[in-house]
Amino acid sequence: MPLWKLSFAFVAFVCYLAASCEAQKTKDMLLSEKVQQLVDWTSRRSVIRLNGDKFRRYIKSPPRNYSVVVMFTALEPQRQCVVCRHASEEMQILANSWRYSGSFSSRLFFAMVDFDEGPDVFQQLNMNSAPTFMHFPPKGKPRRADTFDLQRNGIMAEQLAKWITDRTEVVLRVFRPPNYSGAVALMLLMTLVGGLLFLRRNNLDFLYNKTGWGIALLCIVFAMTSGQMWNHIRGPPYAHKNPQTGQVAYIHGSSQAQFVAETHIVILLNAAITLGMILLHDAASGMGDASKRKILCLVGLGLVVFFFSFLLSIFRSKYSGYPYRPDLWSAWNIIVTFTQ
């Protein structure tokens, strides 16, 4: 009787061992199969496209020894997600840098889920905004820090790489393919100019036109003194509309910044004052009709006085505490203090 019991127990134990061994084996096989499949896909395209089933099988379900960085996005044109396209480009750069780097291994994969291919995934993860970057660690569930903070870090590939290094300890170096569009544009411009010169090669006198050059240089000067370069580099809004009152401000209140509209006003004012001065200048040195010159002179003076006071008042509104006012009273004050 005990022997029978014992043998039964033994058999049961052996059976159990065999079964668990089998299970381990299938698990191992499953894992290696999954890794193999992922490597395969990665070699075809560096960011693997997943639908709902694949997502659950390869990323959600447990036997894993690899990290996956997943971008949840909506790239279909009808979704009109501009940010998604930028994010996708950055992700592509990052994934390519990883795939072609010397340290590529099966520790880390890049994948993406498009909303239109797996809306169930979005529902499952309670996700209602795209793009979102999530890291799925080899063990356990993703934690809060496993979601990339887009608001704070932006979508540059370098930032993503930093975050991934943070989460997975895989060191990524972003390699950006050089951008040749600038060079191409420059070439085009040069060929255009060269072609124009070639077409008009029999009559190059226009190159020696003093007035043309003078006007071009004056334009450059006005563009620079009115801060167009600042606009170009900083990209400020055209004007500011107050959401509460609906009033539109064309002049920025601080001296550190400006609106595009403001620079356009200033360019006009500067040009008008300069024109006034040049009129004065020409009226004095010219040899034309006397009464015409008198009118020119008066017009010039008027232009200068009017637009200068206008410019000064704009300037005063930007620099609080600027002591000189653009009206006649302060002009009188200045003259009085000067004569005293």
């Binding site: 820090a145 003078g214 200048h281 300037f315 000189y324 200045i334």
Partner: protein, 720 residues
């Protein structure tokens, strides 16, 4: 007038006397308007970089040129050190040392600090005189005088040359204008004398400022423009060939420049134009002895040869990696927004910002619209020198728009061209006035048809109005100088409620405390901003300074500042730090203190491998804010920097009706009040708490370890 008549001076003599008088008054004015800060505070060096220059100058006068040239500085960048002789432009230091020795030879025993403080105003006086001569070459003496008076008080130039602002730019503008003046003279005369003089001026410029690259591109551009307009002559040939050969050889004598003039791409334009000059001259010589057909053939074959050889050379160089024509550097020249998009560190430095229209008006006032008038005048009467000034004006205009700091280069040419414009308008109407008077007196003139009814009135209105403009310019410039550009930033001042001035002299207090109360070889750790000041004033060894050449070292300091005490202690022991110095503005409301700079420390600290434990996000609240109050992130509230700034601050009442420990910069009650420091001792805190100095213990506070190698701390304890 009567007295002049009594002196029996001829008209020419009166003219010269008047010019001399005006010019010397302008020179005196340009010196004295820069003295606001000396009068308000005292004769003190300003800001950060000038302290380094001051220290090196002191070394030069004490130790001599050869020791200066071979100087290895072990007081900075401990334990790395820095080779000073080969990494600076020595022109500034040599100039002041020269002044110092000359004055001492004449038994004027002036202190070297005062030489340094007053050097920039002195050189701006020289600039004023030079501007007169330069503008005189362009138009006439009258325009020169107007330009000189304008440059004497133009705020764009004053911003970098007030008394105490002892920096390269202070003398570099003078050198630049000297080079331009001699260049214009050389082109005008074609004499070797002026060309050699120009090379010397160029050498002086190279030895004093990195901005010389602008010159060595502008002058070839001028030569090129002269060629294109058909004005190239043997005079230009002599001038440029001499300048290029002599100037390049001379500039290579400056150790910091070295072989750059023949290697780097910035200097290649000059070389190219030099070659072009030779080819042009050779061709015109050959053409004089050949038939036209043969000359044509020669030209064509030469052109093709040049094109092929050039493209092969470029291809070889590009393939071998010597030059890289399509890199970011190249684009950043063409498209200035490139730097902002791709190199964030450039975007973060305030001196590299582009310029708004209001800062043009702030720095130049009515020159902004008189400049185009001068440009118009130069265009309607072109000459070699006017082409030069047009090129200078437009290129510097572009650069000043890209970078606000380069306003300095634009300011002189603004004055020159505006001077031309103003003087032209003014003289024509003034002569109208006189003509009118003469007419009314004599009633017989040769050109009566040029006058019109009311001419007198119109002319006087224009003259009055221009004088009004010039007056407002004077008032504006003085106001800007006094309000914006005359604070030394080492001594702070504020207005008290009753309107009187309060002076905060905490920085110097702290530095002198370090000088007198710490061992000679003590190492002081602080953020890099204060490095130059500590070495210059406290004469102690520092870890990092404003010459930010080694990022990993700065990063190590950033890590120490942003780690919790335990970790920070390890780093500080590793770096052998004796004292730590922090700037704290919470009591006075000084906003550029270390807590406000702290995120940069975290970022830079976390940017290297050893700083992998530092994550910027840990220093924010969950909502992404940077707060020092109770809601602030615990990592921030327990890091070394926070503890050093707010140690004992929790017991201090700063504002009425506020709880103790109220930070007046961040406008918050601090979150971590009652804590003790485990590895540091508060060594000194200045009067207004602006600077706080801590002593790092030789070993951690563990009673058992008192006897184990903690020499000076044991003594400290016994004294207590």
């Amino acid at each position: 007038m009567a007295r002049l008549g009594m002196l029996r001076l001829s008209h020419e003599k009166q003219d010269t006397l008047l010019k001399l008088l005006i010019l010397s008054m302008a020179a005196v004015l340009s010196f004295s308007t820069r003295l606001f800060s000396v009068l308000r505070f005292e004769s003190v060096i300003h800001e950060f970089d000038p302290y380094f220059n001051y220290r090196t100058t002191r070394f030069l006068t004490e130790e001599g040129f050869y020791k200066f040239h071979n100087w290895f500085d072990d007081r900075a960048w401990y334990p790395l050190g820095r080779i000073i002789g080969g990494t600076i432009y020595p022109g500034l230091m040599v100039t002041s040392a020269l002044f110092y020795h000359i004055l001492h030879f004449l038994h004027v025993t002036i202190e070297i600090r005062n030489v340094c403080v007053f050097l920039a105003p002195l050189f701006s006086s020289f600039t004023t005189i030079l501007t007169y001569h330069l503008t005189k070459e362009l138009k006439d003496a009258g325009a020169g005088l107007v330009a000189a008076v304008m440059v004497a008080i133009v705020p764009g130039y004053i911003s970098r040359s007030v008394a105490g602002s002892y920096d390269n730019e202070g003398i570099a503008i003078f050198c630049m204008l000297l080079t331009y003046y001699t260049w214009i003279q050389a082109v005008r005369t074609g004499s070797l004398y002026w060309s050699a003089f120009c090379s010397l001026a160029y050498f002086y410029m190279v030895s004093s400022w990195g901005g010389y690259v602008f010159l060595i591109n502008l002058i070839p551009l001028h030569v090129l423009a002269l060629m294109a307009t058909g004005r190239f002559s043997h005079r230009v040939y002599v001038a440029y060939s001499t300048l290029y050969c002599l100037g390049t050889v001379l500039s290579m004598q400056v150790a910091f420049v070295g072989f750059q003039p023949v290697q780097s791409s910035e200097h290649m334009a000059a070389l190219g134009v030099f070659a072009l000059c030779q080819a042009f001259a050779a061709y015109s010589w050959l053409r004089s002895s050949l038939t036209p057909a043969l000359a044509e053939l020669l030209l064509r074959s030469f052109m093709w040869l040049l094109l092929i050889a050039g493209s092969i050379a470029v291809a070889i160089l590009a393939l071998s990696g010597k030059i890289s024509p399509w890199t970011g550097r190249f684009y950043s020249l063409l498209d200035p927004s490139y730097a902002k998009n791709n190199i964030p560190i450039i975007a973060s430095v305030s001196e590299h910002q582009p310029t708004t229209w209001s800062s043009y008006y702030f720095d130049l006032q009515f020159l902004v619209f008189m400049f185009p008038v001068g440009l118009h005048y130069c265009f309607s009467n072109l000459s070699d020198s006017r082409i030069f000034i047009i090129l200078y004006g437009v290129t510097s205009m572009y650069f000043s728009a890209v970078m606000v700091r380069l306003m300095l280069v634009l300011a002189p040419v603004m004055c020159v061209l505006s001077g031309v414009g103003v003087s032209h308008v003014l003289t024509s109407y003034m002569s109208n006035l006189e003509l009118g008077r003469a007419l009314s007196r004599t009633r017989s003139r040769r050109h009566p048809d040029h006058s019109y009814p009311g001419k007198q009135e119109v002319s006087s209105a224009v003259v009055l109005f221009l004088s009004f403009f010039l007056m407002t310019y004077t008032f504006h410039s003085t106001w800007v100088t006094s309000e914006a550009y005359s604070s030394p930033s080492i001594v702070l001042s504020a207005r008290s409620p009753d309107g009187s001035r309060i002076i905060f002299d905490d920085f110097r207090e702290a530095y002198y405390w370090l000088r007198h109360n710490t061992p000679q070889d003590a190492k002081v750790m602080s953020w890099w901003d204060y490095g130059y000041q500590i070495t210059a004033m406290a004469n102690r060894t520092i870890l990092v300074d404003n010459n930010t050449w080694n990022n990993t070292h700065i990063s190590r300091v950033g890590q120490a500042m942003s780690s919790p005490e335990e970790k920070a202690y390890e780093i500080m022991r590793e770096l052998d730090v004796g004292y730590v110095l922090v700037i704290f503005g919470g009591l006075t409301g000084y906003s550029s203190d270390d807590i406000n700079k702290f995120l940069w420390m975290v970022r830079i600290g976390g940017s290297t491998e050893t700083g992998s434990h530092i994550h910027e996000n840990d220093y924010y609240t969950p909502t992404g804010e940077f707060r020092v109050d109770r809601d602030g992130s615990p990592t921030l509230l327990n890091c070394l920097m926070y503890k050093m700034c707010y140690y004992r601050f929790g017991q201090v009442y700063t504002e009425a009706k506020r709880p103790p420990g109220y930070d007046r910069v961040r406008n918050a009650e601090i979150g971590n009040k009652d804590f003790e420091l485990d590895v540091l001792d508060e060594a000194y805190t200045t009067e207004h708490w602006l600077v706080r100095i801590y002593k790092v213990w030789r070993c951690k506070m563990m009673p058992i370890m008192y006897t184990l190698g903690c020499g000076d701390y044991v003594i400290d304890l016994m004294v207590v």
